[in-house]
Structure formats: structure tokens, C-alpha cells
């Protein structure tokens, strides 16, 4: 029987096509209106290179940043060559790795086919909905969106592709030395890090070069493109990885008593593929969009506050960060005889080296560049408002060091961001590492049963959320303090620069993060691909040594992966908070073109209206707070649905005794296909929710409700994301602690309780939790991009009926989309029925040594793995 979701695409496409057509119809009408009055001055491309406001040094610096961005990409290419040139191991190892690589490529190709049309539609919409008169801005917004989407896609795809190349090399290197294996694995991760740095910086720099201080629309488009792709890659990757993991475990470990990474389990390759698409591609795209959105936020707010220096400075800081990452990542290496402790020390040392280099660099840059004088104020009059009495000399000593015209506040808020990144690492590590009390207490709680483990895990997660939020709040307060007395846009700029500082070491962060799945996959390749007897014959002791090295690297990778999650979530809040100011500013002045003319009084008047005493704001707050919960529920249910199909397929294949005997390989490709198809299907609902919810609230309830919506969504999203990630991480490591030989070890009652906690926490920490980060930013971006139209066509605006009908259409379409997504989430998927033989969980086995095979109905479909018969 063909899996019934073959006819699903028809059902899935229908609402999308309808939505797209409705949007297009509504927006084409608005697109033919006359331009609004009060248009800005004529636009000149590449203004920084012929506007006398920019000095020769600034133009050279801009070109230097571009060169650094390209340099980062070239460094990535160098590392690619190093990794691909490394030894590829034996034929059996290559076979396993090839199956994982093919499955990963099949997934990303399927995803590209799925969301590609949506990207084209949105590009067209951005083109059509621009209400200004400058064609350059219209094309810039849409083009930058497309470029942002493509860059985000490239980072995810290329990073994952190299990870599937690097994992084999790491497994091969482990047969020779620890140092070689660690270095290769870390450099594989560094490729993704450098792609993120390079492409993110390249995009922001090029946009500024072309548009100068008119880059607002293009920057938003760039940020939106990267964020949207990141959302889909995170959601799809998260569903894939957990469905494959849960499916493999449910049938393998629990039902059939087969251990992990056993080649007889048809889901084992999909499980390894999931590590790549979730932890490599999804995470890489996620951090890329954090990286670019923080640049976007800083540049937008820099334009509105300090003028062009406020825009250039974050780009230069990021350039310094790229250089720091290049130097520091190259220092991470281990000696042949090293173990996991020294390896972690080397990784952390690399991080500290990068931090020091970056901090010294951008503070020195600040001392040299952040000088404000009358000549600068003449061309950037808005900057004067940032200083007490309009005089830079009136700044306190810690901000100006007594030097004429110096304002170190942007550099200091960057420094706060670096501290925040380190602090979030520490907090996350404290609550999720086996060396600390929370996880140790959780392991001990397992000795009294499953329920106490779950209860305790909730407590650990809640507590970690509070501490994380306090750290972020203190950092924001410190940043605000730096700009105390300055107008709100300067304060917001300070918060944005904190985000810049936080992600200065993105190269190191992603290196540490991607290293995790690379090491995990390498361990799986070693498990399934090594020939122990042959290795021992060639060199006695080599097999056990190699397995120990891979196991150690896997442990290191798990640690580094967990530590970096806090940064991704924290950056979402920082970027969202700083962009919130833009949101208020646009409401205050009516359009993004007039932000620079906004007065403090206008801003404060609008900000003062955002009070929970306003029913619209309060309702928006409530709805915004609910959306992350609905989104998470959708994803978790999606994992369950996808896992159902995987379990059914694995059970079907396990009926073949030849697979148990090991004389016939399972059809890995079929399970990979199922994971790929269901992950793509399940993307649609959460994606629609992210796009439609803010539009629905904005057009239905007005801009103030939308502001409340954003605030509620940011706050609750942050809390939920941190809780899910940290609780899941704590449960996972409590299980590992017991498996390492505590409280009875594997098989004990404590271990069983720990497995329950780990199973509960897995979809939280690997699917729903990480996906909230891009959700926050997508909804932020959609709100900002649509705000101009919301102001004109929302249903609460005092206009005639005939002028509101575009808003009515948008509301109806978005409402239909949200309702559809909600209902889809609660449904059982087509084909979710059990066969007779599926009823038993422990004994649905056929007797005898039948050589008959049970060919999958419908034949093999696309994306079959190399190992499939």
C-alpha cells in the first residue's frame, strides 16, 4: 500500500496557492496607488563612495570589511580543501558515510523544492507592496530578501554537506590519533562558521555600499530572507531529526531490543541524517540569521541615531570578529595523546583567544574611529542628540576617556555583548553539564522513579530560565545605562550593539556547535564501519583506541553543542528588543522613510500608548504570548506523526528474518524518504502560523495590538525556548551520567527513569526549543515589513469601508491560514492506521527462516540510500 500522504501534496498545496493568490490580489491593488507625499530625497547608488560626508579612511574601511568578508569565505574554502584531502578510511566506512550523505542531500533538495516557490512568491509580494516611489528601494527590498534567503540556504546546505564529508574523515583520523580527529572535526565546523561570518558580513556591507543611509528597506528584506529560510530549516530539520531518532529508538531499543547504530535497524541511517539536517543545517541557518539580523538591527538603528558612523562601526566590529575567529579557530588542536578534558580546554581556549582579539580590536577601533565633531554633526545632525547638551565632551570619563570628541559607548555595549555570550555559555553549562549540581541532582532523582525525574527536570528547566532571563535583563539594563539620558533610538542602538558583540565570535560558536553532530556521526560510522579484527591485526589495540577516541569526541561535541544553544536564543531576544524601537518609531512618524526626522517627544508619546491598560495592547500581548505555545505544540505533534510512519515502516522491515540474520540489508532509503516527505509536509502549518499570525493581529486589531503581540511573543518565546532547551539538555545528560556508571548504570531502574526523561526532553530541546528562535525573528520581520500597510489598512483605523477592504481580505486570508494550521496540527495524518501485525509491541515476529522478502509496496522512491538492496 502506498503511503497515503502521496495525495497529501495536493491538499498541502491548495491552501498555499490560495493564500498566495489572495495576497497577490490584495497587494497588487495597493501597489498601484500613488506614492505617499513627503518622499525622501533622490537616491544615489554607492553614495558612501561619492558623498563628501564619508572620509577616504571610511571608504577604505568599508572596502576592508568587504575584503575581510571575502577573506572569511576564502578561509572557509581553504578549510574545505584541508578536510576533503584527508584520509577517507575503508570501503565499509565510506559506504556508511555515503548513505548518510545521500540522505542529507535528498532532504535538503526536497526542502528547496518545497519552499523555493514560497520564496519566489514572497519576493514578488515584497516587490509589489512597496509603496514608495524609488524603484531602487523596491527592487532592493525584494532583491535583498532573495539574497538573504539564498545566503541562509547556502550556509545550511554547505555546512551540512561538509559535515557529511568531515564525519568520515574524523572517523578515519581516529584510527591514528586523537589530535588529528579533533582538529579535523573542529575545522569541519569552522567552515560553516566562516560561511556564516563571510556571507552575513558580505550581505550587510554590500547593501550599505549600494544604499548608504537609505538601506533600511533592503536591510529588512535581507534579514527577513535569512530568517525565513532559517525558520524552515530549523522546523524541518528539527522534525526530521527527532522523528528519525524517536522512530529508531521506539522500534529499535524498546520494541526489538536492538541497540543504537545497529545496521539492522532501517532507521539508523535516517537517525544519522537527522543529526546533520537538524544540528548542522538547521543550526547553521539559525545562527546565520541571528548574525545578519543583529547587523540589520544595528545598522538600521545606527542610521537613525549616530548616522553613518553608527552604521559603519558594527560592520567594522564584525570584520574584526571574523579576523579574530580565523586566528582563534586555527589554534584549536589536540595532541595525539590528549583526551576529552584537554580537548575541551583547547576548544575553550580558542574561544577565549578569539574573544580577547575581538575585544582589543573593537575597543581600539572605537578609540580611533568613534570621534564626533562639528564637521560630522553638520552632515549627520541627528547624532548630536545622543550627547548631553549636544556636546561629546560632556560624556562621563568612562565613555570618553577625556579625549576630544570620543564616544566609546558603542564599543562598551559591544563588550557587554561579549560578556553576555560568555555568561550565557556558563549558565547553560551549569544547568546542563554533568559536572554540576542540577544534572547530578536529576540523576539522583532517577533513583526514586520516573515521576520524580520528570518533576525535578521541570524544576531545573524553570530555574535555568529565570537565571538566563536575569542575565539578559542585566545586560540590557547595563546597555541602557550606557546611554542614560540619550533619546530612545540611541538606547536601542546600544542594545543592538550588544547583539553585535554577542555574535562577534560566531565563527567559534558555530565551530563548537557543528563539531557536535560531526563527532556524533563519526562515532556512528566507526560503530558500523570499522572492522575490529582487521584493525587489531594491523595494529593491536588500534580498534579499541579508535572507538575510545570517537566516544570521547562525541562527549566533547555534546558539551560544545549544548553550550552554544543559549547564545542563539539570547541573540533573538536582543535583536527583537532592539528592532522593537524601530517598530515604535515607524508608528510614531507613519513610515520608515521618516525615522530620521522623528523627535524624542514623538517617540515617547507613542511608546507611552503601549500600555497594558489599553485593551488592544493587552489582547495583543495575550495572543503573542500564546503563539509560541501553539507553535511548539504543532512541532511536537508533527514529530509524533512522522515517528508513527517510521515505526510502521521499521516494523514492516523487521518481519524479514534475513535482516535479523544480517544477510540482507534493510531498505534505509525508504525510511529516509519517509522522514523527508513528512518533514516537508509538516513545515507548512508552523510556517503559515509564523507568517500569518502577526498580519492577522496587525490588520484586525491595529498597530498597537501588534506591538503588544510582539512584546508578548518575544517574552514568552524566550522563556519557553530556554526552558525547553535546558530541561531537555539536563534530562539528556542525567541519562548519560547514569550510563557512565552511576546509580546502577545501564539497565538499572534509575536508567529506565532517566530514559523516560530523555525521551520527554528530546523533542523539546532538538525540535521545538530551537525553532522558537527564528520564529521570534520571522514574526518581528513580518511585522516591520508590513507595518506601513498595517497603519493604512488595519480595521481599527478611522477610514471608510471602501478603504479598508484590503485589510479585510488580509484578515480573512490570514485567519483561514491560522485556523487551517491549527486544525492540521491536531489531525492524524492520512494513513495513520495500524495493521493487524502492528498491534503487538514486543512480539510481532514471523517464525521460521523464510527467505521470502517483503518488498515495500509501491517500489522505492527518490532519495534511496546507497546501502539499500
Amino acid at each position: 500500500m502506498t503511503l497515503s500522504f502521496v495525495r497529501g501534496p495536493m491538499k498541502a498545496w491548495a491552501p498555499r496557492v490560495a493564500l498566495a493568490l489572495a495576497f497577490a490580489a490584495a497587494i497588487v491593488w495597493t501597489g498601484v496607488r500613488d506614492a505617499r507625499p513627503g518622499e525622501t530625497a533622490a537616491f544615489h547608488a554607492f553614495a558612501p563612495f561619492h558623498d563628501p560626508a564619508y572620509s577616504g579612511l571610511e571608504r577604505a574601511a568599508l572596502l576592508a570589511v568587504l575584503a575581510v568578508a571575502v577573506g572569511g569565505l576564502l578561509y572557509a574554502l581553504l578549510l574545505v580543501r584541508q578536510v576533503t584531502a584527508a584520509d577517507r578510511g575503508t570501503a565499509s566506512m565510506q559506504e556508511v558515510a555515503a548513505a548518510v550523505r545521500e540522505g542529507s542531500n535528498a532532504y535538503l533538495s526536497a526542502q528547496f523544492r518545497k519552499i523555493g516557490p514560497l520564496i519566489v512568491v514572497i519576493t514578488a509580494l515584497l516587490l509589489l507592496t512597496y509603496s514608495g516611489s524609488q524603484p531602487a528601494f523596491r527592487w532592493g527590498r525584494a532583491g535583498a530578501f532573495l539574497v538573504g534567503a539564498l545566503f541562509s540556504w547556502t550556509v545550511g546546505f554547505a555546512g551540512m554537506r561538509l559535515a557529511t564529508i568531515g564525519n568520515l574523515r574524523v572517523a578515519a583520523a581516529a584510527t591514528r590519533s586523537y589530535g588529528e580527529a579533533l582538529t579535523l572535526g573542529y575545522r569541519t565546523g569552522t567552515v560553516t562558521g566562516m560561511l556564516t561570518d563571510g556571507l552575513g558580513l558580505l550581505g550587510g556591507t554590500l547593501i550599505f555600499m549600494i544604499y548608504g543611509l537609505h538601506a533600511y528597506e533592503a536591510l529588512l528584506g535581507f534579514g527577513f530572507g535569512g530568517t525565513l529560510i532559517a525558520l524552515f530549516m530549523r522546523v524541518g530539520g528539527g522534525i526530521y531529526t527527532k522523528a528519525a531518532d524517536v522512530g529508531a529508538d521506539l522500534v529499535g531499543k524498546i520494541e526489538k531490543d536492538i541497540p543504537e547504530d545497529d545496521p539492522r535497524n532501517a532507521a539508523t541511517i535516517a537517525d544519522n541524517v537527522g543529526d546533520n539536517v537538524g544540528d548542522c543545517a538547521g543550526m547553521a541557518a539559525d545562527v546565520f540569521e541571528s548574525y545578519e539580523v543583529t547587523i540589520v538591527a544595528a545598522m538600521i538603528l545606527g542610521m537613525a541615531s549616530f548616522g553613518h558612523k553608527g552604521v559603519l562601526f558594527p560592520l567594522l566590529v564584525r570584520g574584526i570578529g571574523v579576523l579574530g575567529s580565523i586566528v582563534s579557530t586555527y589554534t584549536v588542536r589536540a595532541r595525539p595523546e590528549d583526551g576529552s578534558d584537554s580537548a575541551l580546554h583547547s576548544v575553550h581556549r580558542g574561544f577565549w583567544i578569539g574573544s580577547v582579539l575581538s575585544v582589543v580590536g573593537f575597543v581600539a577601533l572605537g578609540v580611533g574611529y568613534l570621534r564626533f565633531d562639528e564637521a560630522y554633526f553638520a552632515t549627520n545632525p541627528m547624532a548630536r542628540a545622543g550627547f548631553p547638551g549636544g556636546d561629546p565632551g560632556a560624556l562621563p570619563f568612562w565613555a570618553g576617556l577625556g579625549l576630544a570628541g570620543l564616544d566609546l559607548r558603542p564599543a562598551l555595549t559591544c563588550l557587554l555583548g561579549v560578556f553576555l555570550a560568555v555568561a550565557l555559555n556558563k549558565v547553560t553549562s551549569y544547568y546542563t553539564h554533568t559536572a554540576h549540581k542540577p544534572v547530578q541532582g536529576l540523576a539522583r532523582a532517577c533513583t526514586t522513579g520516573h515521576a520524580t525525574n520528570i518533576i525535578q527536570g521541570f524544576a531545573v528547566g524553570y530555574e535555568s530560565t529565570v537565571v538566563t532571563l536575569l542575565v539578559i535583563a542585566v545586560t540590557i539594563l547595563a546597555s541602557v545605562f550606557c546611554y542614560a539620558g540619550a533619546p530612545p533610538m540611541f538606547v536601542a542602538y546600544g542594545v543592538a550593539m550588544t547583539g553585535i558583540g554577542m555574535l562577534t565570535l560566531t565563527g567559534n560558536t558555530i565551530s563548537m556547535d557543528v563539531f557536535g553532530p560531526v563527532a556524533d556521526n563519526a562515532n556512528g560510522i566507526g560503530e558500523m564501519g570499522y572492522d575490529p579484527e582487521e584493525m587489531e591485526r594491523q595494529e593491536p589495540g588500534s580498534y579499541r583506541r579508535a572507538r575510545r577516541i570517537l566516544s570521547d569526541l562525541d562527549a566533547v561535541g555534546n558539551t560544545t553543542k549544548a553550550e552554544t544553544k543559549g547564545i542563539a536564543i539570547g541573540s533573538a531576544v536582543i535583536a527583537a528588543v532592539s528592532l522593537f524601537s524601530s517598530f515604535i518609531a515607524i508608528i510614531a512618524v507613519g513610515s520608515e522613510d521618516r525615522i530620521a526626522q522623528m523627535t524624542t517627544a514623538q517617540y515617547m508619546a507613542e511608546a507611552g500608548r503601549l500600555t497594558v491598560a489599553d485593551p488592544g495592547v493587552f489582547v495583543g500581548l495575550l495572543i503573542g504570548g500564546a503563539v509560541p505555545f501553539l507553535f511548539s505544540a504543532m512541532l511536537i505533534r508533527a514529530v509524533g506523526r512522522a515517528a508513527f510512519f517510521i515505526v510502521r515502516e521499521c516494523r514492516r522491515q523487521f518481519r524479514d528474518l534475513a535482516i535479523w540474520e544480517g544477510t540482507k540489508k534493510p531498505d534505509y532509503g525508504r525510511v529516509v524518504d519517509i522522514c523527508t516527505e513528512t518533514a516537508q509536509k509538516e513545515l507548512v502549518g508552523p510556517g503559515l502560523l509564523a507568517l500569518a499570525a502577526p498580519l492577522l493581529v496587525g490588520f484586525l486589531l491595529g498597530p498597537y495590538a501588534l506591538a503588544g503581540f510582539l512584546a508578548g511573543m518575544i517574552l514568552v518565546g524566550q522563556l519557553l525556548a530556554v526552558f525547553m532547551s535546558n530541561a531537555g539538555g539536563a534530562w539528556d545528560n542525567a541519562k548519560k551520567l547514569i550510563e557512565d556508571g552511576h546509580y546502577g548504570g545501564k539497565g538499572s531502574d534509575a536508567h529506565k527513569a532517566a530514559v523516560t526523561g530523555d525521551t520527554v526532553g528530546d523533542p523539546l530541546k532538538d525540535t521545538a526549543g530551537p525553532a522558537i528562535n527564528p520564529l521570534i525573528k520571522v514574526m518581528n520581520m513580518v511585522s516591520l515589513l508590513a507595518l506601513g500597510l498595517v497603519l493604512q489598512f488595519n480595521l481599527t483605523a478611522p477610514r471608510g469601508v471602501s478603504a479598508r477592504w484590503p485589510g479585510v481580505v488580509v484578515v480573512l486570508v490570514c485567519l483561514a491560514a491560522v485556523v487551517w494550521a491549527f486544525r492540521q496540527s491536531g489531525r492524524e495524518a492520512d494513513g495513520m492506521t495500524l495493521d493487524e501485525d502492528d498491534e503487538s509491541t514486543a512480539g510481532a515476529r514471523r517464525s521460521g527462516l523464510s527467505a521470502e522478502t517483503t518488498e515495500p509496496p509501491g517500489g522505492r522512491r527518490r532519495g534511496a540510500g546507497v546501502l539499500a538492496p
Binding site: P259, Y543, R547, H742, L849
Partner: protein
């Protein structure tokens, strides 16, 4: 087709004829049979020429243990499911096979030389005909003799059991990776047999779970009666990881 004889000695007790080779038989018993089986399966290959009046079906094996109509070999033909070990002499037993729940099978040959004769204290998991977890002041060979001595009020004609790990940390607690039930009670029982007050054995648990069993095996398996003891030495961790990697991968996970 050749007919094999197997004595299943863990989980349940049976004498089974089969046309399958030992590894295939172990796979069948773990995952192939419709008789739902959980936990580990241990069985010993019996000398094919063995005959005993207690098992009359053995004289008709050629008639009853035949291929299926579709040509498949006969996986199992039960000869007896009661008091099997009692009537099998020690010299009828050949190799031991240990099957994991997912069908991986490890062959363990008996030791050629003298049976292992070391002193206690020891921890034994009796597997057939009874299944208690026992601490003893005796070593494995001595324990086998003690438990099969008819003058002992508690004795059995023949006994199959495993010698388990009993490592303790510096503070006297059981090592952290040993998943025995009620560690505190086990240590208390151990204290009693170590006290020197003449108590040679103490039952810790009547029929404990086999979770983590293979990770707990120390010196191996013993089959003894009043006339002697056969020792099936368990491979070292290194040998298991290198030469029996897939079996150990499964066994260590359960």
C-alpha cells in the same frame, strides 16, 4: 539434514532438536519464534548421539525433526520441557551459546584444563534449574560441588550458573555500573557470608531481572554435578570488543 540437540538453560528449561546450526538456532529462539521470548537465551549444544530413556522422542528424531513442507529446515522440535538438566550427564554437553534479545549469538567453548578453582566471596546468578541471585563464601567450583551434594538438604542434581562481578569502591559500595537489584541488601547478605560464622551461601533475590546481565559476568559460566564441574570462561572485555564486536554491542546495551 543434520539434527542438532540443544538444552536451553536460561529463562526456561528445555531439550530441543533442531535442523538449524547453533547461531541460527539462537537467532530463531530470540526473534524468530512465535512463542514470545524476552530476555537472554542461553543454551548448550548436546552430543547428537545422546540418548536416554527419559527422552523417548530422541529415538525418533529422524522421523519427527524433518524439513517443513516448503523446504524450510525445522527450527525446533521440543523433546522435553521438564527436568532436562537433571538427566543430561556432564560429558554430553559441548559448547555454550549466549543469545541476546535481538538475536546475536556468542559461542563459548568449555575450558580444556582444570576447572577454575578460586576462593570466594562470590556472587552467582543461578540459571538452571533455579534462578536465584546468591552470594557465597565459596568459589565457583566449590559452590557447584556444594549445591549438587546430595547430603546437603538444599541441593539439585545438576546446576548451571554464572559468576558475576562484585567490585566495590573505596567506600565499600558496589561499583556504580552494576545494576543489581537492591544493592544495600546485596551488601548485607555479602556481609553475612563473609562474617566467618559458617554461613556459606545466602539468597539475595529469587528471580531477578536479566537487565545488564552480560555486563555483569565475571569469570564465566559453570555447569556442575557431583562428579565434576565444567567451566565456560567468559571472554575478556578486550576480546569481546575486538572479536565479537556486534555481539558485545548488543549484549552491553541490554
Amino acid at each position: 539434514m543434520r539434527i542438532h540437540l540443544y538444552a536451553v538453560v536460561s529463562g526456561f528449561e528445555a531439550l530441543i532438536a533442531s535442523q538449524l546450526e547453533p547461531e541460527a538456532f539462537g537467532l530463531h529462539m530470540a526473534v524468530g519464534t512465535r512463542k514470545l521470548t524476552s530476555g537472554i537465551i542461553s543454551f548448550l549444544e548436546i552430543e547428537p548421539s545422546f540418548r536416554h530413556e527419559r527422552f523417548p522422542l530422541l529415538d525418533r528424531l529422524e522421523e519427527v525433526c524433518v524439513l517443513h513442507p516448503d523446504g524450510r529446515p525445522r527450527a525446533s522440535k521440543y523433546v522435553s520441557v521438564y527436568r532436562v538438566l537433571e538427566f543430561l550427564p556432564l560429558d554430553a554437553f559441548r559448547d555454550l551459546y549466549l543469545a541476546t534479545p535481538d538475536g546475536r549469538v556468542l559461542r563459548v567453548a568449555p575450558s580444556e584444563g582444570r576447572p577454575l578453582d578460586v576462593a570466594g566471596p562470590s556472587l552467582f546468578q543461578e540459571l538452571c534449574p533455579l534462578t536465584p541471585l546468591v552470594v557465597s563464601a565459596l568459589g565457583p567450583a566449590e559452590y557447584a560441588r556444594h549445591m549438587t551434594d546430595e547430603s546437603n538438604p538444599i541441593s539439585v542434581p545438576r546446576l548451571f550458573f554464572a559468576d558475576l562481578r562484585l567490585e566495590r569502591d573505596a567506600e565499600g559500595r558496589l561499583a556504580g555500573d552494576l545494576s543489581y537489584p537492591s544493592p544495600a541488601h546485596l551488601l548485607e547478605c555479602l556481609g553475612q557470608v563473609e562474617s566467618g560464622r559458617g554461613k556459606l551461601t545466602k539468597t539475595v533475590a529469587r528471580n531477578p531481572s536479566t537487565q545488564g546481565f552480560f555486563r555483569s559476568v565475571r569469570r564465566g559460566f559453570f555447569l556442575g554435578d557431583a562428579g565434576g564441574v565444567k567451566w565456560y570462561p567468559f571472554p575478556s572485555r578486550e576480546q569481546l570488543e575486538v572479536h565479537h564486536a556486534w555481539w558485545w554491542h548488543s549484549a552491553s546495551a541490554h
